[in-house]
């Protein structure tokens, strides 16, 4: 009897403790992302409701601020952001995949390791140091405030990421299949394009998505190199607040639209996030 009661109470305690941990976890995650949640909510408010203290929780949602933000030249900024991130990622893939292929399947171990070391070290170079000479070169070449410049710089920024991610996915491929391809008389180009790339496609897609996020989120190069003529979306927010004063709801609506892309992509590619960022040092 007493044994049964003890067992029952242990089970109850365990159940409650499990519930308690779950509740705590939900609360902590909620607090962590509260700024984002509140920003999204504010985007649907009127300006008056957005600025009121104490904060209004109940209000009639409106899409006015989104409409205003879109009418404020959003599409031009969007175009620059989309082109810069997509084209730079494509270029980085075109340059990076053959390089990773060479490192994994063709180069001698020593040179492949040297190449990896070089690739990684370029990614860790502080941007501030190379910005000044780049700026001088770009000015001399008359390429300041040009979308092309931004594309090239983002390609350079993301190429190491593409190479080290592709490399680690290529290393994981079953070697038998590749042997088979070579025995069947495939050329190296065929092996890469028809066998290796399709087999590593999920990993390569994740690399491309991460590269898009990095380009999309960049502020440093965008603000220094192409601020006036071809600004991207992160610049739009900065311009928006400095030119028009502070409209909390409108800024929130704009911010919501801008972060939507990297957040959705990042959540989709979540499994590859750590792997990609740490260069495969941790699976």
């Amino acid at each position: 009897m007493s044994v049964a009661t003890t067992q029952k109470s242990v089970a109850t305690t365990q159940k409650w403790s499990r519930f308690g941990w779950a509740a705590l976890t939900y609360l902590v995650v909620f607090l962590l992302i509260f700024p984002v949640i509140w920003m999204v909510i504010t985007g649907f408010k009127s300006e008056v409701a957005a600025i009121s203290i104490p904060p209004t929780l109940f209000f009639v949602p409106t899409l006015d601020q989104f409409a205003q933000a879109i009418n404020g030249g959003f599409s031009a900024y969007l175009f620059n952001s989309v082109v810069a991130s997509l084209v730079s990622t494509t270029l980085a893939l075109i340059l990076g995949i053959p390089a990773a292929y060479a490192m994994v399947f063709q180069m001698r171990k020593k040179s492949a390791d040297n190449m990896l070391f070089f690739v990684l070290s370029t990614r860790f170079l502080p941007f501030a140091a190379i910005l000044i000479p780049l700026f001088v070169i770009i000015t001399r070449l008359n390429l300041l405030d040009n979308l092309f410049t931004l594309i090239i710089v983002y390609t350079a920024m993301n190429l190491p990421l593409i190479i080290w991610m592709s490399r680690s996915y290529f290393l994981d491929l079953p070697k038998e299949v590749l042997e088979g391809a070579w025995l069947d008389g495939c050329t190296t180009l065929q092996t890469m394009l028809l066998i290796v790339v399709p087999m590593a496609a999920p990993g390569l897609a994740a690399a491309a998505l991460l590269s898009i996020i990095f380009a999309w989120n960049d502020f440093f190069f965008a603000v220094t190199l192409t601020y006036t003529e071809t600004p991207t979306l992160p610049i739009m927010v900065a311009v928006f607040t400095s030119n028009e004063g502070l409209f909390l709801a409108k800024v929130s609506a704009l911010a919501t639209m801008i972060i939507l892309v990297p957040v959705l992509i990042g959540i989709y590619a979540q499994k590859h996030l750590v792997h990609g960022l740490t260069g495969g040092a941790l699976k």
Binding site: M39, P54, F124, A156, F219, F220, A238, A281
Partner: protein
């Protein structure tokens, strides 16, 4: 040929002996390739050559506001200026250390707590994990602006409203605690990164180890401190090194919230480098600051590259 001759012990496939020319196999590693060259040339052109130029600029005096002075060679004078006569340099270095160390510690603590919570089997764990990564994914410049105006603003900020509710005085965060405010925002952004790395580390700990600890009667705290934490050493090393290198480069958060002010109180070395070049137009001096930054980053990166090559050796053998 000799390369292939060594291979067959490891790889014996039907038909292999019939080959007359060596295939470019993994085992063979013929070493003849140019496929890495386009990428290599591209990276050298956009990173190494500019860096060498920065070194060259740093040995010259070059002020865009005084073009008549030209581009005279001054040796190490710019470096001496930075270390000795520039009153801002050491405060800026100290800001940099504070920002990197402060944000890193906060992110490590918060990230560990989140990872431990999200490692437990609870309903909706996948969704919670995905949601928890949002601060890291969201555009930093945009979120800095939101933090500044929706939360840390003395007039319309939610934090100050909460302070008011509990009877605390209003705080003008970005003028009273400028560096700490930025530190907090940066830590918020990097917490999910630490969480993801620690979660990956936690998942690599075998269940048997945890069960053995439970059987031996270890409580939750002892299990974490004596077993989990030591086994997560590599995950912490990675978080620390990557976090440090990327937080060192913090730019948008400073630019958007304080623009480096008040005074130079929120200038970090990369931001100060940018400002010296783009608002004071002292290209030579700024290049010297940039080179100093690179040297610091190399020290940090060496540790990380050691970690990477460790894995390279293990996965090849």
């Amino acid at each position: 040929m000799s390369q292939v001759a060594q291979a067959p012990q490891k790889f014996t496939l039907p038909g292999m002996h019939r080959r007359t020319t060596p295939a470019p196999t993994i085992e063979g590693r013929a070493g003849r390739t140019w496929w890495h060259l386009p990428a290599l040339v591209f990276m050298i052109t956009l990173t190494q050559i500019p860096f060498l130029l920065a070194v060259w600029f740093s040995l010259h005096s070059w002020n865009l506001l005084v073009p008549s002075e030209g581009f005279p060679f001054v040796g190490l004078a710019n470096y001496i200026t930075a270390f000795v006569s520039d009153p801002n340099f050491w405060p800026v270095m100290w800001n940099t250390v504070q920002l990197v160390v402060g944000s890193m510690i906060l992110a490590l603590i918060a990230g560990t707590i989140l990872a431990l919570l999200l490692n437990r089997p609870i309903w909706g764990r996948g969704v919670l994990r995905a949601l928890a990564t949002v601060p890291f994914l969201a555009t930093p410049s945009v979120m800095a602006l939101i933090w500044k105006n929706l939360f840390l603003s003395p007039s319309s900020g939610m934090v100050d409203w909460l302070f008011h509710l509990v009877g605390l005085p209003n705080v003008a965060w970005f003028s009273t605690f400028p560096l700490q405010s930025i530190m907090f925002i940066v830590a918020w952004e990097w917490t999910p990164f630490v969480m993801l790395v620690i979660l990956a580390g936690l998942q690599s700990i075998p269940d048997e180890v945890m069960e053995a600890a439970k059987v031996d009667g270890a409580n939750a705290f002892m299990t974490f401190w004596r077993i989990t934490f030591p086994l997560l050493r590599k995950a912490y090393e990675i978080s620390l090194l990557f976090g440090t290198i990327f937080i060192f480069q913090t730019f948008a958060e400073i630019y958007i919230t304080t623009s480096g002010g008040p005074g130079v109180s929120t200038n970090t070395l990369p931001y100060y480098t940018y400002r010296t070049a783009f608002t004071s137009f002292q290209i030579g001096q700024a290049s010297a600051l940039g080179v100093i930054g690179v040297i610091l980053a190399i020290f940090a990166a060496r540790g990380m590259l050691r970690l990477m090559t460790e894995r390279t050796v293990s996965e090849r053998n």
